[in-house]
Each structure stands twice: as C-alpha cells, then as structure tokens.
C-alpha cells in the first residue's frame, strides 16, 4: 500500500475509468454504428475501436507526459518517462490527485483522449479511408489533443489564466467538434448524404451506455469519492434529462411528433454541455445549460447544417461542438464557489474574469483544433488520400475495406 493512498478514492477512480472506457467501446461505437447504413456498420464501429486501441498504446509511450508532464513554456508537458518507464514501479501518488496512484490518474485521462478521437469519427463515416483514419489518429493525438489537454489541464497557458474545464467541454467536445468540421470540409459530402439510420436499436443501446458512462466521465473528474463527485453526478444527470426533454419539445413544436433519435440527441447535447461545468454549477444551472444546449444543437443540425451544406454525417460539430461551447460559456456564467471553492464564481457571482477566459479558451482551442486538423487532413489527403473510391463508397465500406458484412441473413 502506498502511504497516503485513499482506498475509497482509488476504488471510485478505477470504476470511473472503466465507465469511461465503456463510453467509447461500445458506447460511441454502437451509437454511431446504428446511424449509418447497413453496408457501413462494421467500418463505423471499427473506427471507434481502433481509436481506442491506438490511443491506449501511444498515451503511455509519450502521451501522458506531453499532456501532464512538467510544464514547458505553458505549451506542452515534458517527456520525462517515455513508455511510462519507472512510473508504475515507483508507486507514487498523482500530483493532480494526491490520494490515488499516478498510474490510475494516467489511465483515467487516457480514456478522455480515446473518446475524443472516437467522437470525431462520427463526422467522417461512410467515406473516409480506413488507412487515412489510422494515420490521422496518432498525428491528431500528438499535435492537437495533447497540447490542448496540457493547456487546460496540465498547467499550460489557459490553466494559468484561470480557464476552467471540469471534465472536457473544451478539451473533448469543442476540440472534437472543430476537428470534425475541418475534416468534413476536406472530405466533402457523401455521394448520398440522405442515408437513413439502419438500426436505431444500436443507437439506443449506445446512448444508454454513454449516459451511464458519463457518470465516470464527469463525477470521476472530481478525482475522488467526494461530495464534489456526488454534485457532479446530479448535475450531469439533470442536464442530460433536460436536454432530452428540450429536444423532444423542439421536435413536437417543429414537426408535431417527438422522435426517439431526437430525444437521444438532446440527452447527449445535455451531457456534453454539462461536462465542462459539472464540478462548478448547481442543479438549476445544469437545467439551464442542458436546455440551451439541446435547443442550440437542434438548430445547428436541422437548420445551419443544411443551409451551409457541409456533411457532418452524425453531427459531431452540431451536437458535441456546439454543446461544448454552450457549457464552457455556462461555466463563465454559472460557476459557484459554493459548489467548488477552486473558483470565485462566474458572472452570476459578479465575476467577469472567468467568462472572459472561458471565451478565450473556446476561441483559441476552437481555432487551433480547426486549423491544425485542416493541415493534418490536407497532408494525409496529399499522401495516403482521405476518401475511398467512389465505387467502394456506393457499395459500402464493410465489404470493400474489411471484407466482412455486418449482417448475413442466409
């Protein structure tokens, strides 16, 4: 037993880590898999699984150090323990969470990196080369995720300015949303972007796993079995529930009938939006955040996307990007020192500074993620090629890229 370790905190963080793993495989994988056409279901699920596998390896080779190692000029962490060498053997407690082992904090954070990349895949499904995706994962992790995670969470320049992101509204959702937007602009629209979900049942199971796993994501970000974790769990659930009901209301008002996919989308919008705020806001604020995120998400995917003409296949920007922005602004407005003493509060508590740095963080991370992803995507396009052959796209990716079929009925 490491001196100073808290077994309750460690147990909760082990569980939280497992919960976040469940969010990517199979949560995101199934959620996305059900929304594509049947000829692409395996490829879509594969994009999530392979993202998780690659990040799982690279994170411990160099990722954790670059994100959470000793700060270098506010930009990147120091690579002190490549291949996680000596860290497990040293039996130390994490400097970021002093009651749990360093390794546990590291693998908890690894799950965030993995899901961020898996989320991006939703935008590019049904037309991106698998080889291009394999190349994209390590490059984007290294050049975009790791610096941004360091800026916000590893003591980098945004953290030094006081920007707050409890569980990844900026690092995960704004980051993946803007990256998704950049990639789809490079890829172009699918040959047939009016393809309908082939199996909403998968998406229902996937969303259930996401909602369930999100308690590890947000309440786990309290980094211990504490009152703050309880608070984060309650506001996370509240925002998801209100987001779901708000999207149903929008459906009812606009088309006359609530839809299940709409309800699921609203829940995810609420979950994504409360993520940056989960450790700083109370129940009422969470309901406002969930409501606003769902309404904005609805407009983004049903009005802005068709008007601008980009093909964000599964609405990664429209739901995750927009919700991440809403929630991160929400921190600047609703953050309460009564919930978390780390902050002196947001606008409602008479503090303007926090809202200012939140906006700075959203804009700077958004622009950085967008431009870097454009650059990475462009280079991959010029070398490997981003898009599959037209014939493969029309026939479906499962049989052409993987020589497998999701369904064999005979």
């Amino acid at each position: 037993m490491i001196p100073g370790i808290n077994s309750g905190d460690t147990a909760w963080m082990l569980i939280s880590t497992a919960l976040v793993i469940l969010m990517t495989i199979p949560g995101v994988a199934l959620f996305y898999g059900g929304l594509t056409r049947r000829e692409n279901v395996l490829n879509t699920i594969f994009l999530s699984f392979v993202s998780f596998a690659i990040v799982s390896v690279l994170w411990f080779i160099y990722g954790y150090d670059l994100a959470f190692g000793a700060d270098v000029w506010g930009v990147m962490g120091q690579l002190a323990n490549p291949f996680f060498g000596g860290v497990l053997e040293a039996n130390t407690l994490s400097t970021y969470a002093p009651t749990i082992p360093t390794g546990l904090f590291a693998i908890f954070q690894m799950t965030f990196a993995a899901i961020t990349i898996a989320l991006i895949s939703g935008a590019v499904v049904e037309r991106m080369k698998f080889s291009a995706w394999l190349a994209f994962i390590p490059v984007w992790l290294t050049l975009v995720y790791l610096p941004v995670a360091h800026w916000m969470w590893g003591g980098g320049w945004l953290a030094q300015m006081g920007a707050l992101d409890f569980a990844g509204g900026i690092v995960v959702h704004v980051n993946c949303g803007m990256a998704a937007l950049a990639l789809v602009l490079l890829l172009g629209a699918r040959k047939n972007s009016r393809l309908l979900p082939h199996h909403l049942g998968y998406s229902i199971i996937g969303t259930g796993l996401l909602w369930f796993g999100w308690f590890g994501f947000n309440a786990g970000s309290a980094l211990g079995a504490s009152n703050l974790a309880v608070s984060a769990m309650i506001v996370t659930n509240a925002s998801a529930a209100v987001g779901m009901l708000a999207w149903m209301l929008m459906d009812k008002v606009k088309t006359g009938k609530p839809t299940l996919l709409g309800a699921l989308s609203g829940a995810i919008a609420g979950l994504a939006a409360i993520t940056p705020a989960a450790g700083y806001v109370n129940f009422t604020s969470a309901m406002v955040i969930g409501f606003v995120a769902a309404v904005c998400g609805y407009y983004a995917v049903s009005y802005i996307k068709p008007r601008l003409g980009y093909d964000d296949a599964l609405d990664v920007f429209g739901i995750h990007g927009i919700s991440g922005i809403i929630g991160s602004i929400g921190v600047g407005i609703f953050a309460s020192p009564l919930i978390n003493s780390i902050t002196t509060g947001g606008l409602l508590f008479g503090q303007v500074h926090l809202l200012g740095v939140q906006l700075l963080a959203i804009v700077s991370v958004g622009i950085y993620a967008f431009l870097m992803t454009l650059l990475i995507g462009k280079i991959i396009d010029k070398t490997i090629g981003l898009r599959v052959d037209e014939e493969h796209e029309v026939q479906g990716l499962d049989i052409n890229l993987h020589e497998e079929s999701g369904y064999r009925l005979s």
Binding site: L196, P197, M250, L261, S265, P306
Partner: protein, 112 residues
C-alpha cells in the same frame, strides 16, 4: 397452371399463411422485398430534418396453383391481407407453362 405473385404487408404474412393452409394451399416461396405504390412512400424525420422514404419493406409470396384453385386462393389472400389502408399490396397472376418436381421428375398439376 398459374403463378400467383402477391405483395403484402410484412405483418400480414402469418395470417395469410395460416388462411391458405386452411384451404389446402401449402406450397409457397416468400421473399422480403421493397417497393412502392401510388402513395410514393412515407416521410420520416431524423434530427429535425424530413426524409422521404419511397421504397417500403414488403413481403412477396409466390404460389403456383392449378387453374381451378386460383380463385379460392386469391380470395383468401385479399380477405386476410386487407386492412383497408393504403399500402395493402397487390396480386399478380400469370400463366405457367410447366412445373417439374425435381425429386421425382413428375410434371404438370401432379408436381404442384
């Protein structure tokens, strides 16, 4: 001999099968198909956007029958598969020149 090709709602298959059994019609081939009629499909809404789905899932039943049985079979199908709403389906009847049972080599009505 006639071939009766029937397009019905998928959820009516069990009722039609049972009704045909009652009048002694056992042999049939069933396929899952997609199609549309005069109403040109339906509209579905996903994330606030409407999509026209103009090919709907249907079930096709293929039966080869003696000429004198055709009337009873088609009457039974119409009676069982009808809901009165648009999309109930259609029946197509065409002549069959010959039927051969592969197992025995029998031909004509005996092979049905």
């Amino acid at each position: 001999m006639k071939k009766i090709v029937t397009i019905i709602r998928p959820d009516k298959l069990e009722d039609v099968k049972q009704a045909l059994e009652e009048i002694g019609c056992h042999g049939m081939t069933v396929k899952e198909v997609k199609g549309r009629g005069i109403q040109l499909g339906i509209t579905e809404s996903y994330r606030g956007r409407d999509y026209k789905v103009d090919l709907l899932p249907k079930t096709e039943i293929e039966i080869v029958a003696k000429d004198e049985d055709v009337e009873a079979i088609t009457n039974k199908i119409v009676e069982t598969a009808r809901t009165g709403d648009i999309g109930d389906g259609k029946i197509f009847i065409s002549p069959v020149d010959e039927v051969i049972r592969i197992r025995t080599g029998e031909r004509g009505d005996k092979a049905i």
